[in-house]
Amino acid sequence: MKLPFFRSPDGREGGGSADPTERRDESVLTPAPEAAGVMAGRVPEVKSPSAPAGPTKIAARDVSVFYGDKQALYDVSLDIPDKTVTAFIGPSGCGKSTFLRTMNRMNDTIQGCRVTGKILMDGQDINARSVDPVLLRAQVGMVFQKPNPFPKTIYENVAYGPRIHGLTTSKAELDGIVESSLKKAGLWDEVADRLHSPGTGLSGGQQQRLVIARAIAVNPEVILMDEPCSALDPIATARIEELIDELRERYCIVIVTHSMAQAARVSQRTAFFHMGRLVEHGNTEEIFTNPRERRTLDYITGRFG
């Protein structure tokens, strides 16, 4: 099930009323690190084969987001398949994080932020009055750009979600969840002997995996990742990318990234955003080898504007 290719009417974009922020964002766009190669006309190689996408997990319809009077996202419609990694790419300030946050209603925590349109998860409107954002967020985990472990022990960090959602009845059960989450996040071997030392004492890459373990511990269905590797070195990044690839079997994953190479490596689907609009989306392979839009091509080859 695929949505017809969506484009907003051109009239919306043009004119001198363009927001200064958007213009600035475009002008400060720095080429992704791999852009050097791309400049020479090469397009990042798509490694992960476009696996058969699962059924649609999240369907966004005409989603717009406003911060106060300022519109940050314009009528985005997109289907996100289950058991798949979907990458959001686009220049800084184009609304990737904003769109990501609509999917677990984190925008609710921002004062003055307003979301219109429909977001369906498994066919159910997540903005409906009957949906409690607290429960929704247990189903839709989120990993942030900067690792943000709580100033607690490693164990307590992972046990945080199960505790607040009352998922366990015994200590043994909780221990089990902590262990299996850390294992799924590929961190168990490194921390098994120091579960009760502070989580903030780990390295950046380990912290990010700890945060992923924390998200997994409540057994979510979707994991949203907002530039999860941008604060990490290449080795830690490779480790997280591997992890994302493993997690794909079980979860619906959405990842925002500024690295074209990363998008090409880890995702099967890619959506390109520009100035608050979804410009193009499709199989990663297609987007990277044969984009339909000029703007997409320019962005992924690092020749923007």
């Binding site: 925590t109 607040i164 959602h165």
Partner: protein, 480 residues
Amino acid sequence: MTWLVIPLVAVFAVLAYLAGRGVAQRRAAALHGGQKAHSRPEQHGYYAMIWVAVPALVVTILAGVFSGPLAHNLLAADAPASVQALEPFRREAFFNDARLTGEGQRAFQVWSGELGEALTTEAARSARLHQTLTWGGVLAAILAAVMGGLFAWSQIRPTLRARNRVEGWIGGLLFACSAVAILTTVGIVFSLLWDSLRFFQAVPVTEFLFGTQWSPQIAIRADQVGSSGAFGAVPLFAGTFLIMIIAMIVAAPVGLFSAIYLSEYASALSRGIVKPVLEILAGVPTVVYGFFAALTVGPAFREFFNGLGAMLVGGPLDGMGQYLMLVQNQMALVAGAVMGIMLIPFVSSLSDDIINAVPQSLRDGSYAMGATKSETVKRVLLPAALPGIAGALLLAMSRAIGETMIVTMAAGLAANLTLNPLDTVTTVTVQIVTLLTGDQEFDSPKTLAAFGLGLTLFLVTLLLNIVAQRIVQTYREQYD
């Protein structure tokens, strides 16, 4: 009169600036191509300005300080024999009156006969002397300004490191200001130490620290000076801590919870209203809290407890009823409660800062896990902010211990050693106030006891402040 020099010096200084700048410009212009002056012309201007203003001001200040004593000594040196014959105390009074008369004011005393005549001549002499000294001071200041200006003029040349010199002077000035503050504090501490030492010579430290009897009034009886006044400070510290505890029981939860409300729950609108109101509360003078406690809260509490007692009398709790009926206006509870109210804005604004310093990413992390607001506050924000909040509470305690006005008006004077909040107690600060107000002999242990109390109080609050600052500091560093 001497102070008239100051505007004059200001004018000179401005002229010096302009001249210095001009001279520097001209001398720099004379440089051969390729060479550049070390400093900008304005910096030379400031350099000249400093050399004109500083010597003149120093001379003026010296003249202001020393011309009075100097005139006095000159007058006294060749005064008529009749004046010399006066006893020292009277002689001082005479010269004082001579000065006043010379200035055209009225003398304090009537001097008759020979002394009356002497007064007239001495007054004239005093007036002349003062005039001479004043004009001498002014001339000296002008001379100093001119000399300084000439010196600067001789120095100004393209190679002069005027920028560094000026910076040095500014640094020195700023250092002098902070040195004044520090030296004053050190001076206070030393005088406190000195007078406490004298007190502890009269009253042993152990008696002061561990004695449970406080009645300094006895000691002023002539036959008992320094020997048997009761100077056991334990009841005072007990009272101080009782009131502090009550205040903290009020201020800590209310302040902390309002901080949580402000930083986590309040909408921009209600934050915009509540925060300024709390700040206004913080600006209410403590004496206002004091009479609020003494005139409103005290009587209200007394009526409440008396009424409660009246209901209990005759019942199974008859004894307690009898006691409650006798409760008075002044009690630890009233002073503590009102002091707690006073501390609420203090605790809340400190805690608010500390909670706000917890990085947003931790909140996001918690909300993204599906935690509610209160769960996030309880499980993430408070644990993360706890050391800082502990520091804030210690600071509040130290303020509660040092607070004077509220307790003076609402706690009472009786040095009861009790933990009963309905009893009248007294505090260290209240006792210091009562010991030092009114006419006092300056050497009696009674008066000196105030210094002993002051020193102890100072040490306690100093310790609290150091610990609190330490905690708050390390907490700040954690997130930087």
